[in-house]
Symmetry: C2
Subunit: 96 residues, 2 copies
DNA sequence: ATAAATCAGTTTATATTATAAACCAATTTA
DNA sequence: TAAATTGGTTTATAATATAAACTGATTTAT
């Protein structure tokens, strides 16, 4: 009846992050911050969790002299996201 | 970009409960328990929260001698659910 | 009749989570 | 060189989810 919702993805901010990453080559910290409107601290924590799960890769580098944190979704991340989308649909459809 | 997710509905069990109630006249406690596979305690707590928000009505009565707790979604509940469905879609769609 | 088991839930304790506030190191601007 | 800003991270707190323990009534077994 109801599929299980991956708890790592069933979180407003983490889902937003993944939603951004799924449709973009690469997104940096500030881009995610702007798009989600979340605080930096919150984003930092959630990126770390998604990274620990292997759903994204965090690439730290420099843009000129300033630090820059960029993220890319991994194939595991893409798969997990797709699975989550299927799962949540089982809750949204109105059953006959 | 991302619509806010009503935190009362963005919960696996509460969403499942609402998903059941949206497609059925009335559902009793044990029916919900069976469909969700959740523990009674958990269901009790979540029904209470949804009820407190006015999203469902809890009707306590008897079936023969045994107590029976039935639930019906309210129109506020229906609206909130519909809104949640729209909101979560904003996270699931792949943006061009 | 009464003890044991079951039913239909509720209460509460615990563990997990989400979140923002506080912080830090480097860079830029005044 | 002092103050402000940038780009984050750490950590403290509040909120949440969940199951375990409990309650009170009913049924079943002895």
């Amino acid at each position: 009846m109801f599929k299980e919702l991956n708890p790592l993805l069933h979180s407003e901010l983490r889902l937003a992050i993944m939603s951004i990453l799924i449709s973009v080559e690469e997104a940096d910290f500030l881009f995610i911050k702007e798009k989600t409107g979340a605080t930096g601290g919150n984003i930092s924590v959630q990126l770390e969790k998604l990274s620990a799960a292997g759903y994204l890769k965090i690439e730290k580098g420099f843009l000129g002299k300033r630090t820059r944190t960029a993220c890319r979704i991994t194939s595991e991340g893409t798969d997990a996201f797709a699975e989550y989308v299927e799962a949540i649909k089982s809750y949204l459809e109105k059953k006959a």
